[in-house]
Structures are given as C-alpha cells and as structure tokens.
C-alpha cells in the first residue's frame, strides 16, 4: 500500500510528487500516457503569470502570486529555462483604459509587485512592433516565460530521483473507498493488464478528467469543461518580434490572444478559447487558426505568420466554479482534489505543490527525508559551452560531436542523456520534449529516422515498437513488401 497515490503526471502532479519526496513517504504517480507532461501541461502559453488577472480572494490569486515568486529558486534547483521577460496588457484606442486600472488594482490587492501603466511612447520604446492602435498598457515586470516541458520534467525527475515511483501507461478505471484508504483499479494501457493499487491518500491531479475521478468517491460533484486553446508557433527567425509577453485587454469580443517570445526563442501566438465536449479533442481547426492571426494583429503588427512552424491545441480544465479546487473532498477523507487547474496553473504549480504537501503532512505526519536532494541537473546543451569546453566534452563523449537535429543543432549526446536519465524518453515526442530534437523548422522530417535508430539501440527496443507518443502511435508498421 502506498502512502500517497497521485493521479496525473502533469506539472501539478509532478510538483506535488517532488514536494512529497521531502518526506519519508511511499508515493506513486499514476499517469495514463507514456510520459510525464502529456496533457494540459504540454500545450499552453508557457507563461509564468504575474498574478493580476485573478479576482482577489480567490485561490487562483493566492497561489499564482506565490508560485510566481518561487520560480527563481525552482528554476535554479531544477535547472529549467525561465526568464522574467515582463508582460504587458495592451489597451487599444477602441477600448476603455479603465480596464487596465481594474487589473492594476486587482494585481495590487493580490500582491503583484511593481505594476505600472505606461503610455504609448514608453511602450514603443520597449516594444516597437506594438500595433498602431495601442494607446497604453499595464506593465508587470515579474511576468515570465518558462519551458513547460522542462518544468514538469524537472519536478518529475527530481521526485523520481528522491524515491517517488512513477507508473506510466496506467489508466485509473475506478476508485473505491476502503477502510485503510482507497483502492484504485488500473489498466496498464501498453499490456492491457489490470491490477489494483491501494493508497492511504489519493491526490487527484487528473487535469480535464479530475471531475470523473472526484465523482467516483464524492457526492460533491465537480464539473470540468475542456476549454480548447489553439496556438501557432513561429520560427526562431521571428522570435525577436516582441520581447515581452503581450496580452490584450479583455473586451466584449473575448479575452484576446497573446503574442510572446518563448524561452527557447520562438514566437508563440494564441490561444483561442472554445469549450468542447470531447476531452480528447486536441485537434486544431481552420477557424481557430484563421482567427489567431486576425486577433494577434490587434496588439502586435506585422506578426510574420508565414513563418509558422507548427500549430497545436491544448485543453484547459475549466471547473464550473471558475476557481481552482484544491483540498480534501468533504465527504471523502484522504481524497485531495487538485482540480480545475486551468490558467494560471503553470505559474501556480510551485505554490499548489507546497500547499498540498503541507496538507498531506498534517494527515500522515511523516518523518523528513534526510536524503532529499533538491537539485536536478537538466540536459546539457553543448552550445552553452565555450569552444574549449565543447572540445573537452566531445573528446570524452564523442556523441556530443554528432548533430542529429539540424534545425535545433541537437547532438546525439543530448539524446542519449534524454533516454538514460530518470524517467527517460521512450518515444520521438519524449525525445523532442526533453531535447528539442524535432522541434525546429523542419519538424522532425530529417531527424526522425535517426532518433529512431538511437532509441532502437539504446533503450533497446524494436523499431516496430517505437512510437510518436505512446500506445498506438507507431511510426513504422512493417518492412517492405511484407504487407
């Protein structure tokens, strides 16, 4: 029996796992997909919000500002790319600038530091590509950008290194209250094998499915709507089009879309916001993609949409109460919901994790884990080294001299690291999210066959078992003429 079972290895579940690994607890993270960071955490705006958006007094407001303040330390400990590039909420000439003041007051009440409203002249000096219609903006210097993959993996790998077990490819079919805690009926999606796992405490961090799990054990029903957000990612050539994250002042026409550099130097445009029935509907749509360009041009001019390298959609877990639901279900002792974690979920994850870990501590009263090591080393990127250091590295490990992904200049050495580290990559997307191999302008056209060869040799695994992103997504289906 586990002390704690965490359902969901997104950023929230992984962050909670890492916080719990500070204690002598037997923790298991149960994840349906083949890798961590495969749901909402992988397809979002990659923003660490300053915290002026949420209504004061809400959970969102509280954990966002706290989480934002924790990010410098988290980024250092987990070795993840994070940059406080500052965010702007821009107001155009057709909008009421009072909206900015409302946001500023909210921000101040939430404890967001250094907010100011800037006029056009000041803005253009900072951001020359703002649209001609922009008249003023709220500026939040604490807003930041992060790599959501690395943030989730940083937490998960650190948790794993500190003793947390991860059960991937494992879907929770049912949860039952038993005397000692909970019984979880699970299916291993790769083998089809079923088993029962038991835990004293269950943490429900299941994203868009958190309502389903809650509703298995609690009469206090949750209702989570999947709210689709479509994005376009532009080439690094376009990455310097803006340097801050540019939000639009919400209006009757909607919340608008953001235009932001990513921490890796691309330009991101999105998201749309459409509620969908199907919680698997991560498809993009013609209407959605068309609308992004139009809407983006309201705040930023000449966005080079011709340089789009990929588009994607993510689903935010929107709970009917419009706030995060964090805490024990009233009628299900030991069942802790971490539900409705939509934006600003990424920003809030560090604070949510501490909050939930504190609650578990109260419930289980565990000893401190003296062996806990807060430091996780990320994958070494040789292009951060000097020429001499790089040569030393290649002499010791020649794989660092072999480029596999030409667009992002990713070496075989980095891919070997991605495969052999804790919770190592087992699929093309797993390699991609860890190393960026395949994330560049050719979108894996060149490196896929080479990465497959490396997976085949190093895992090792059969070429026929290599997938894009888990069960059913096999890349090749046979050999020539055998069909």
């Amino acid at each position: 029996m586990y002390d704690v079972a965490i359902i969901g290895a997104g950023v929230t579940g992984s962050a909670i796992a890492r916080e719990l690994s500070r204690y002598q607890l037997n923790v298991c993270v149960i994840e349906r997909e083949e890798d961590v960071c495969c749901g909402t955490s992988k397809a979002n705006s990659a923003i660490i919000h300053a915290g002026f958006d949420a209504v004061p007094g809400t959970l969102k407001a509280k954990v966002n500002v706290k989480g934002n303040a924790m990010m410098d330390q988290i980024a250092k400990e987990l070795d993840i790319p994070f940059k406080r590039n500052g965010s702007m909420v821009v107001c155009t000439k057709d909008q009421d600038p009072k909206g900015l003041e409302v946001l500023m007051e909210r921000g101040k009440a939430n404890g967001v530091p250094d907010l100011q409203i800037l006029d056009r002249e000041a803005l253009i000096a900072m951001e020359p590509n703002l649209s001609d219609d922009v008249v003023c903006a709220l500026f939040a210097p604490t807003g930041g950008i992060v790599c959501p993959f690395h943030m989730t993996m940083g937490y998960a790998e650190n948790a794993c290194s500190n003793g947390v077990e991860f059960s991937l490819n494992t879907q929770v079919d049912d949860i039952k209250k038993v005397e000692s805690g909970y019984e979880l009926a699970v299916t291993h999606t790769d083998s089809g094998k079923k088993e029962t796992k038991t835990a004293k405490v269950v943490i429900n961090a299941a994203g868009v499915y958190a309502d389903t799990l809650n509703n298995m054990v609690s009469e206090h029903k949750l209702h989570i709507t999947a709210r689709k957000g479509e994005y376009m990612l532009l080439d690094k050539d376009a990455g310097k089009h803006v340097s801050h994250t540019i939000f639009q002042l919400p209006s009757k026409m909607g919340k608008g879309v953001l235009v932001s550099p990513t921490v890796h130097g691309n330009l991101l445009v999105g998201p749309t916001a459409v509620d969908v029935e199907d919680k698997e509907a991560v498809n993009t749509t013609q209407a959605g993609l068309d609308s992004l360009g139009r809407t983006a041009s309201l705040s930023v001019k000449n966005v080079p949409l011709r340089q789009v390298i990929t588009s994607f959609a993510g689903l935010r877990a929107h709970e009917a109460g419009d706030d995060f639901v964090i805490g024990e279900a009233e009628d299900a002792k030991g069942f802790i919901n971490v539900a409705g974690i939509e934006s600003p979920g990424l920003s809030s994850a560090p604070a949510i994790a501490v909050m939930v870990a504190d609650r578990v501590k109260e419930m289980l009263n565990p000893e401190v884990n003296d062996k806990f090591n807060p430091i996780r080393k990320g994958i070494l990127h040789p292009d951060t080294l000097t020429l001499e250091e790089r040569n030393e590295l290649i002499k010791k490990q020649p794989a660092y001299g072999n480029i596999i992904c030409r667009c992002e200049m990713i070496t075989e050495g980095e891919i070997l690291d991605a495969i052999h580290r804790p919770l190592g990559a087992r699929s093309l997307d797993g390699v991609k999210r860890r190393t960026r191999a395949g994330m560049g302008r050719c979108q894996a056209g060149f490196c896929s066959p080479r990465t497959m060869e490396i997976l085949e040799r190093e895992v090792p695994m059969s070429m026929f078992d290599i997938t894009k992103n888990g069960v059913g997504s096999n890349i090749v289906i046979g050999t020539n003429k055998e069909l």
Binding site: V308, S311, P449, K468, I477, N480, E482
Partner: protein
C-alpha cells in the same frame, strides 16, 4: 587554424560537381564538408531511375548518378570529411564545423561554395488543421524509411502535394505493397514533372485531384482518416466539397525550401522568391568569394542542371581564388516579369561573364503555346516558342556575351512570357 583555398559546404550532387570543376580549374586545396555518413546527398535515397539523361545520355538511378561524381572526386583525391556538421560561416569565411573525432574545427577559406541543398515543407508550416498523430510524414522522410532502411511507414496512404518526391513515393509505396488512395494538389496544376505524373500516378491508376487540399486530419494516436476538399481560385476550401479518405498515412510533398540558415549567418542576401542567395553570373553572392549552387540556390527539377550549375560555381570560385578578388565591373539586373517568377542569376556583368550564360527560371502558372521573350531595355532580342510551360519544370534563356557587347549602355534585361 587550418586553411583551405576552397571549402564546399555539402557533399551532394552540387558540392561534388563544384569540387570536380574547381580542381579541374587548378585549385589544389579543396575540402568538402558533408553532414551525412556518405557522399551523394539526397540522391542516395532516390533509388528510382531517370537521372543523368542530359549529363551521361543514359538513365541512371540516384545512387548511380551520385557514384559517377563520387568517383571523380576520389580520382582527383579531393579531401572530404563525412559526419561533419558545419555550425557557422563567418563574414571572414571562417567555417566552424564539428564531428565526433575532431570536435569543433575552425577552418579558414579563401572561397566558399554553398551547396547545402533544401528541406521539405512540413505539416506545421502548411498549417493544416486537425490532430497531430503518428503517420504524417514528409515524402522524403518516408522515402528514407522505405528506400534506405526497409521500413514501411503505412498501409493506406493519402498524399498531399504533387511535388516530384510525392509522385515518386506514390509509386514506391504502391510497389512495396501499400494502397495509395489519392494525391491532392492545392494548385490547378501539378508541381512535379509531367513524366512523373504519367509513370508514377497514371500507370498505377492513382487519382490526382488538382485544386484540392487537406482540411482535416483524424486520429489521436495514428492517422485514421484524412479529409480533402476542393479549393476555389483563392485557394480556400469550398464548403460542401469535402471527401473523407480512411487511411493510416499522410505524405506531404508540398514544396522544398533551400536550407540557408548558414548563408544567413554569413550575411548572404537571400531572394524572397527562391529563398536562395541572390547571385551574379558567376553564381557569387553579395559576399565576395562566397558562391552558391544546386538546391540551396533555387530548387531544381533535374539533377543534371544542378551538376551543370555547380560546375559553373566551381570554375568561378577557382577563378576568384586565383585572382584573389572579385572583378569590379558594371552589373545589369535581369527583371523577371509577366509570368517569370525569378531568374538565376539575378545580375550579370557583361564584361566578365562567360561567352554564353544560361539563365534559369520558373514560370508562375501553366502557359500553353506561349513564348519566352528577352528584352535588352525595350528592345526585343529573342523570342522562343514553347508549346507548354509549367511551374514544375525549369525554363532557360541563353545570353551571348558577344550580343551584350553591342549594348554598352544597357540598363536591364527583361525576361517575360508572351503570346507566341
């Protein structure tokens, strides 16, 4: 820092032919840098025949064609490094490269020939809506899997785009046992060679749907179905024309993009039309001593033309190395108008050019019973009838140095498509 007279970036057909020509024009110190494990470039995976009809007057496969040039390089003992990635080219022609054995290598060149080839346009760049499952490949990636590694990427195939690789792969997939259900092409004409339409689609009863595009991709894990629709003159899908094809694979053959990231780092000016360097009659870029040829310069239809062009680049680079500088001479711009999309070269130097110069270009639409007209300023110089011209096939005009000498005050040359 080790120095070479000439460094050639890329050991595909362009780089090989350029190296041979440079050596034959007296340059001893040549280095070819190739990122793959063998010379020959993309020809190694083009195992179909049809290469070399112009160059060798016989039909060769891609690897055979490459082998002819690789032999010439080896006979001449031209130095090359394999598995070596060029990371950077500086304005001063310092080439930074990397491989497993030597680590980071800095090399000084007197002249550089860019011969890096091109890449395929990806699904992402096409912004096709739908899911992002496994089973979507660029035609070239599928070609590598099938032809070089022996793996089948799928059983039931839809192909978007009628570029030559897509057409070739329609036939290859069929021969290897897959069912190719349809080839959809956004434009009202094919992007590939006529002979490939006949030999790869018609001969196998594979339908080609012109003015069609993919409007949806289904399947969360692996492609389950692809929906195509007819497009109007604005190239937007026409509602109500959707047709759904169940399949497990979507191949994309929607255009090739010259791979000029290194050229940019060196400060080479690029053409927004070709996405390749802007060059003069000696195929020299705006940077003295930096030349370009092959698909990195503009996407070719036949490798024979790549070899010819690369030979010119190699010869001119040799002349540059011997002279030590680029001749300062009057330049005349070639203006592509009325259906001519671009020309390579874009500038010529009437006093410096070869006795004859082949100007290559593509047209922007299908033209029947028209003519290619060349004007020196406003004077019609030549008019050549062409029964059919299409964007998938390159066209050419040959300029005579002797003729240009008669026009010392020439401002520009215009090449256009006119009624015959």
């Amino acid at each position: 820092m080790k120095a070479y007279d000439l460094i050639i970036i890329g050991g595909g057909p362009a780089g090989l032919a350029a190296a041979v020509a440079a050596r034959d024009n007296g340059i001893e110190s040549i280095l070819i840098l190739e990122r793959d494990k063998q010379l020959g470039g993309i020809l190694n995976q083009c195992i179909h025949n049809g290469f070399g009809l112009h160059t060798f007057k016989e039909e060769l496969t891609g690897p055979e064609y490459a082998a002819r040039f690789i032999e010439q390089v080896k006979e001449r003992k031209i130095e090359y490094k394999l598995n070596t990635m060029v990371m950077d080219i500086s304005h001063e022609k310092v080439v930074t490269a990397m491989n497993r054995e030597e680590g980071m290598i800095l090399l000084q060149a007197k002249a550089v020939i860019l011969a890096m080839g091109c890449r395929e346009r990806s699904r992402g760049a096409l912004n096709i809506p739908g899911y992002r499952p496994a089973g979507i490949y660029s035609a070239g990636t599928a070609q590598r899997l099938v032809n070089m590694e022996g793996y089948m990427p799928g059983r039931e195939v839809v192909i978007l785009g009628s570029g030559d690789i897509g057409l070739i792969m329609a036939r290859r997939m069929t021969l290897e046992g897959a069912k190719v259900k349809v080839v959809a092409e956004l434009m009202p004409y094919s992007g590939g060679l006529k002979r490939n339409i006949v030999q790869c689609l018609n001969d196998f009863d594979i339908p080609l749907k012109l003015s069609h595009t993919v409007v949806d991709i289904e399947g969360k894990d692996r492609v389950k179905a692809v929906t195509i629709a007819e497009v109007g003159p604005d190239r937007r899908p026409i509602p109500g024309t959707e047709e759904r094809y169940e399949c497990d694979t979507l191949l994309l053959s929607c255009g090739l993009i010259p791979e000029n990231e290194l050229s940019k780092s060196a400060g080479v000016d690029l053409s927004p039309i070709t996405s390749g360097p802007i060059v003069n009659d000696s195929l020299e870029t705006n940077i003295d001593g930096v030349f370009a040829c092959g698909n990195v310069l503009h996407v070719h239809d036949l490798v024979d033309y790549v070899s010819q062009e690369a030979g010119t680049a190699g010869k001119n680079a040799a002349a540059y190395i011997k002279e030590g500088k680029t001749a300062d001479a009057k330049t005349v711009e070639i203006l592509p108008v009325d259906g001519v999309r671009y020309t390579v070269p874009k500038y010529i130097r009437p006093t410096e050019m070869e006795d004859t110069l082949t100007v290559r270009f593509r047209v922007g639409d299908v033209y029947k019973n028209c003519a290619i007209a060349t004007y020196f300023d406003d004077e019609l110089i030549s008019k050549r009838k062409r029964p059919v011209m299409a964007p998938g096939e390159m066209e050419q005009v040959i300029l005579q140095k002797s003729k240009l000498a008669d026009y010392p005050d020439l401002k520009h040359i215009t090449i256009k498509i006119e009624e015959a």
